[in-house]
């Protein structure tokens, strides 16, 4: 049996191991997580999955070069091998004078990310949550005929970071999530509605609401018709709004800006969106899904207004990109796992709420299309900003739903989309991906159809 080290000891050993080499410094990232997922089928538990994940990612700096290695072998030998692999592979990179590690101590702030007691919850209690989702969905409409998949997951995770410059931080977090895809059937026609939600506390998830929304989405698509090719105002509810807002995040990446791959390069201080648009990235929002005291490089996170009434105020940076832009780092170097280095990303990125009710916004439009699902969001090109997506929707007249449509596309460019947001409602909602959006209206988009 190999020696088993505790997390603290692993990080200590790795830092000591980096210091023992003739290098300029380094960074150790550790993640230790456990999660449980239950999957339901026909009112019964189908699968119970327990997952464990523990590993380190090491960054070593040497003469402006940087190497990254990761390992799940956390024995003393495994750690040392990981450190030397990072040093060795650094030699193929080109020196960059702006490469650095965190040197500023991080404060330990409690952001309400952790709830105790997760391990004491029996599998049956988890199964009950998923069953409650399906019961609520079925109660919505007799045409709900089944579910593609209903799952409940919870997990706990410890994140630790340490640099050879003396920075050291750790935090724990929990998450609880439910999701389902209800299927509605009418004769030969079948439609699906996916919905999921995630929270930091068990009591904050609402399985009935998830079931009801999924069922309403599926039932709402029954009888969907083809639609004529035309341009119309587009209405996005908070969940559809979030999915499009997620595609805008890369435009704010300082890395893309520096490399000339962002349409926002050189635009700070200029109008990049309509005056109705204020975009905030808030990594300190208490209890929010993407809040964290420090980022993947050990830099303190922050709350920032990125777009203020349409004017671009700044970018999301890492240590290196902040140095290149001569800015203070914003703490947006995010880690997906121990096995991947930091990448610039947003925290709780959201479009700030407006003042009108969603009904008031929509009622003012003679004819409009409210989007109910989007296909192919992953193909939006963050460089050109071009998008062309499959969609389903509800055709509205004076804000009233007339009939559902399917087999259509919506197309445009992210920058012209931002410029044509004409109304933002007061119903800001945060979703399972950590993004937030109120209902908003785009004055016009191209719709492809028959």
């Amino acid at each position: 049996m190999s020696e088993k080290l505790a997390n603290e000891a692993i990080v200590d050993h790795a830092v000591a191991s980096i210091k023992s080499l003739r290098v300029d410094g380094g960074e150790v990232f550790l993640r230790d997580g456990q999660s449980t997922t239950v999957e339901i089928r026909d009112g019964q538990l189908e699968n119970a999955i327990t997952r464990g994940e523990r590993g380190i990612g090491i960054r070593v700096l040497r003469g402006g070069r940087v190497g990254f290695a990761y390992s799940s072998d956390l024995s003393p030998d495994g750690i040392e091998l990981c450190v030397t692999s990072a040093r060795d592979i650094a030699s193929v990179t080109e020196p960059d004078p702006d490469v650095s590690i965190a040197t500023q101590k991080v404060e330990n702030v409690d952001l309400g990310l952790y709830e105790a007691g997760i391990d004491d919850r029996p599998v049956d209690a988890r199964t009950d949550v998923a069953l409650a989702v399906e019961r609520a969905a079925k109660a919505v409409d007799p045409r709900i005929s089944g579910f593609r998949k209903t799952t409940y997951s919870d997990g706990t995770m410890t994140t630790m970071i340490a640099t050879t410059a003396g920075v050291r931080g750790a935090y724990r977090e929990t998450y609880f999530s439910v999701g389902t895809s209800a299927v509605a059937t009418a004769g030969e026609e079948r439609q699906i509605g996916y919905f999921g939600d995630a929270k930091r506390q068990f009591a904050a998830i609402d399985p009935e609401a998830v079931g009801r929304r999924s069922a309403a989405l599926a039932v709402g698509k029954l009888g969907a018709r083809p639609f004529k090719t035309q341009t119309l105002p587009i209405v996005l509810d908070p969940y559809m709004g979030m999915s499009l807002l997620g595609a805008i995040v890369p435009l704010f990446s300082a890395d893309s800006v520096i490399k000339g791959k962002s349409l926002f390069a050189g635009k700070v201080g200029t109008q990049v969106a309509s005056a109705a648009v204020t975009i905030v990235d808030d990594a300190r929002r208490p209890g929010a899904l993407r809040s964290a005291p420090f980022d993947g490089e050990g830099v303190a996170t922050s709350t920032r207004t990125l777009v203020d009434e349409g004017v671009l105020r700044g970018y999301l940076t890492s240590l290196k990109t902040a140095k290149k832009l001569d800015h203070t780092p914003t703490g947006n170097a995010r880690r997906g796992s121990y096995a991947s280095p930091s990448r610039i990303g947003a925290a709780n990125f959201h479009l700030a709420a407006g003042s009108a009710s969603p009904e008031a916004l929509v009622n003012g439009l003679d004819r409009s299309l409210r989007i109910t699902s989007l296909l192919n969001l992953h193909t939006i090109d963050p460089i050109s900003g071009e998008f062309s997506l499959g969609a389903t929707g509800d055709y509205l007249e004076n804000g009233e739903r007339t009939y559902p449509v399917q087999g259509i596309t919506i197309a445009g460019n992210l920058t012209s989309l931002l410029a044509s947001i004409t109304g933002v409602a007061n119903d800001l909602t945060f979703g399972a991906a950590g993004l937030g959006s109120p209902t908003f209206v785009i004055s016009e988009l191209s719709i492809g159809g028959v």
Binding site: N47, H378, S388, G407, T409
Partner: protein, 465 residues
């Protein structure tokens, strides 16, 4: 570590010590090297190893799966103990059959193990691509080149006595070129990928991949937006097979069909496509990105005829769903890693070539859209509605390829579209991708001949808007 037959037998006995009727061990060691050249410099150099195992125990229709990183036999037994505790059905101890190792033929031959190639050589190829793209045209604004080598060693053992190993060596070489003209930015991407050794990355292959990405970026930055509306579309074989993957493939996965969740559910033996359409999934196609000797349950991969001359023949299955549906195990139970249960997935999926001359197919269309490159796609298997991205297309005018267009998508409904295809070429072209399903990624490839679709919705800009 590696797992021996003895380790496997011990872990399976522990897993089945408190009930359950079947047990399975999946172990893997995954070695990865990633190099990224961006902004004229090698910016990221990453190396790592992830090693772990998952143990599954079933009791009737109920299953438990415990997994985690493992470094030694004790870690493995701890996971087996977690699985046993979770299944605990008071069913008593289930016997584990005598473990018997056997070898499957490897469809992909690796001539040069990428781990044996000096890293400096890999860097040279990245630089070659960067310099070539940048010297093509002044409008080339940025170049990103990615090299990823992945060697996954897998052991699958189960309580029926199975013990099988596989090694999957996969390479990706991707080039992303950004072009700038005035204020317009556009990108072009091309990847070469396969289940092959370093021999696939010849300088010739690097040049070809780079030239395609560069040409697409330059073409897109000057192209007009694609129109929105309904058009006749010719899909060239060069475009590869995202169409078949999205419009048909996912709908034929057995897990969705057991639940009646696919437009193809309950339709075995029925006509689901035009007579011209034969669809095959082939996990044994040598060197393809989706190819492997066995799936992640240790079942040998197959060439499976899914649709023959328009008639639905079978579904893509894993062990569980093959039994439930009473169809053969097709070797399509795949998982992203030890952290996941296997699910029914495609490998290399293709529409078989037909009899028409590809040039005659193009010549037959007076006004339409000629698609020569497809990107990512997505399908809603319940309604059959799909969308996929067009990365390269042209207007067809009087049977000839005319001006290039950018920013197009095709949307449709799988069975309807497959019934309407009225010309199938005698050629065949492949594409590569990473398919996402239920939060798991899987390396796949797709292929198709040149096809004519009489009428389909093209997503672009409304003319005059």
């Amino acid at each position: 570590m590696s797992v021996t037959e003895r380790d496997a037998a011990r872990a399976l006995r522990t897993a089945l010590s408190r009930g359950g009727d079947w047990g399975e061990l999946f172990w893997e060691r995954h070695d990865v090297v990633t190099l990224t050249l961006d902004d004229n410099r090698i910016e990221d150099a990453i190396t790592g190893v992830d090693q772990g195992a998952g143990i599954r125990v079933t009791a009737g229709d109920r299953g438990v799966y415990a997994n985690g990183n493992v470094n030694d036999g004790d870690d493995l037994l701890a996971i087996a103990g977690r699985a046993a505790a979770a299944i605990a059905d008071d069913g008593g101890t289930h016997e584990v059959a005598a473990i018997h190792a056997d070898e499957l033929p490897r469809p992909s031959v690796v001539q040069i193990d990428p781990r044996s190639v000096p890293i400096e050589r890999k860097v040279e190829l990245l630089k070659l691509a960067n310099e070539r793209a940048r010297s093509t045209d002044a409008r080339v604004h940025q170049v990103t080149v990615l090299y990823r080598e992945s060697v996954q060693d897998v052991v699958v053992a189960n309580s029926d006595g199975r013990f099988r190993k596989d090694t999957r060596t996969r390479l990706v070489f991707g080039v992303l070129v950004t072009a700038k003209q005035g204020d317009v930015l556009e990108s072009g991407y091309k990847a070469k990928a396969g289940t092959e050794g370093f021999e696939m990355l010849t300088e010739e292959a690097v040049r070809e991949t780079t030239d395609t990405a560069t040409r697409l970026a330059l073409q897109n930055v000057a192209a007009d937006p694609a129109p929105a509306g309904t058009y006749t579309v010719v899909l060239a074989s060069d475009a590869g097979g995202t169409l078949i993957h999205e419009s048909v493939g996912h709908g034929l996965e057995a897990d969705l069909n057991l639940k009646g969740m696919s437009v193809y559910s309950g339709r075995l033996g029925q006509k689901v496509a035009s007579d011209l359409i034969t669809v095959v999934d082939d996990g044994t196609d040598p060197g393809r990105r989706g190819t492997q000797a066995m799936d992640d349950e240790g079942t040998q991969t197959h060439r499976t005829v899914l649709i023959e001359n328009g008639v639905l023949k079978t579904y893509l299955s894993d062990r569980k769903h093959a039994r439930k549906l009473g169809i053969p195990e097709s070797g399509n139970g795949r998982r992203e890693s030890f952290r996941h249960l296997p699910i029914c997935r495609m490998t290399t999926t293709r529409i078989e070539p037909g009899t028409s001359d590809p040039a005659a197919i193009l010549a037959s269309v007076k006004d339409g859209i000629f698609v020569k490159g497809m990107g990512g796609g997505q399908v809603d298997v319940v309604s059959g509605n799909f969308a996929f991205e067009i990365t390269e297309c042209y207007r067809i005018r009087d049977g000839k390829q005319a001006e290039p267009l950018r920013g197009a998508t095709l949307v449709g409904q799988g069975p309807k579209l497959m019934s309407e295809i009225d010309m199938v070429g005698w050629d065949l072209g492949y594409s590569v991708g990473t398919c996402g399903k239920d939060g798991q990624g899987a390396p796949v490839s797709d292929a198709q001949p040149t096809l004519r679709i009489p009428s389909v919705v093209v997503g672009g800009k409304v003319t005059g808007a």
